[in-house]
């Protein structure tokens, strides 16, 4: 199913609107919390997947983070944007889960994909590219992965990403640059092959 929101939607949502939703959620209104979950489910799951690789683990981490955010909701400062606050919890939950995972489970690439086997149609090609992108992403350091996903996929600014990851803005720029360099090579190779 398609994600209910465009990539940069969270950053654009009026802060007042979110503060109102948070206040209602704190007061016990589950529907308000549901709206917040609906808005941020996509970005939370993608960021968690960038960290964990595995879709099921990512969903579990995103879910834990959402529930943890609900418990901590009273600590949220309504003068600040909600997205970075929530995504920091998501990033921490995903990182914790990855550390706890005793055996690293990386979904293996199809032999046909790595060997440059035949590509019967566009869907298969697309799937293969997705798989290769996930693999390439998995090879990047964790912070770099999150930085590039938050910047190029989710549309957050360097400053917001710095808040989410708890690192200086200059480091965010550097991480995004290095991640892009690696991933662009992969995309370019793919185009040439295709």
């Amino acid at each position: 199913m398609a994600d209910p929101q465009p990539p940069r939607e969270p950053a654009r949502i009026a802060q007042q609107d979110e503060a109102d939703l948070v206040a209602r959620a704190v007061a016990g209104e589950r529907a308000a919390f549901g709206m917040l979950v609906e808005r941020y489910a996509g970005v939370a799951r993608r960021v968690a997947r960038a960290v964990l690789g595995n879709a099921e683990d990512a969903d579990d981490a995103a879910q834990d983070a959402m529930l943890s955010a609900l418990v901590k909701l009273e600590q949220y400062d309504a003068r600040r944007p909600f997205g970075p606050w929530l995504l920091r919890i998501v990033a921490n939950a995903a990182t914790d889960r990855r550390r706890r995972r005793s055996v690293r489970r990386v979904e293996p690439l199809d032999v046909g994909l790595t060997a440059g086997g035949p590509r019967p149609d566009a869907t298969v090609e697309r799937r293969a590219l997705n798989e290769r992108l996930r693999q390439a992403l998995a090879e990047l350091p964790e912070r770099r992965r999150m930085a590039v996903v938050l910047f190029d996929v989710e549309g957050y600014s360097h400053g917001e990403i710095a808040l989410i990851l708890g690192i200086p803005e200059g480091t965010v720029r550097s991480e995004v640059f290095h991640a892009r360099r690696r991933l662009r090579v992969l995309l370019a190779d793919w185009k040439e092959e295709g």
Partner: protein, 113 residues
């Protein structure tokens, strides 16, 4: 794709779309429904619960302080008789409380002779 300039502040639409598709988890509604259902079981701490927790911590801290104070006072009381009892050297070095004792010493010396 945008030229790979170092620290480019512009977003790379092509890379962003490709990554978004690669990371797309799918079935957003099922995920949202699951989280919202679980949220119903989560107990959000209310202000009175927080106060009660702090009160419990306060009572526990007061108990610890009372026990520590009791121990110190008890130790002080037990130590005081030892401090009040003079040692042999104290008695010998200390100046005599009654100067009349000199006469007693003289009398005993004369008596020996």
């Amino acid at each position: 794709m945008i030229d790979p300039l170092p620290f480019d502040h512009r977003r790379d639409g092509v890379l962003g779309r490709a990554l978004r598709e690669a990371l797309d988890p799918g079935d957003a509604q099922a995920f949202v429904a699951r989280v919202v259902a679980l949220a119903g079981q989560v107990r959000v701490p209310s202000w009175d619960a927080v106060l009660a927790r702090w009160a419990r911590a306060g009572v526990a801290a007061a108990l610890v302080v009372a026990l520590a104070a009791g121990y110190l006072v008890g130790r002080g009381t037990a130590a005081s008789p030892t401090a009040a009892r003079p040692t042999v050297s104290d008695v010998l070095i200390a100046p005599p409380a009654h100067p009349a004792e000199v006469e007693v010493v003289l009398a005993s010396v004369i008596g020996n002779n």
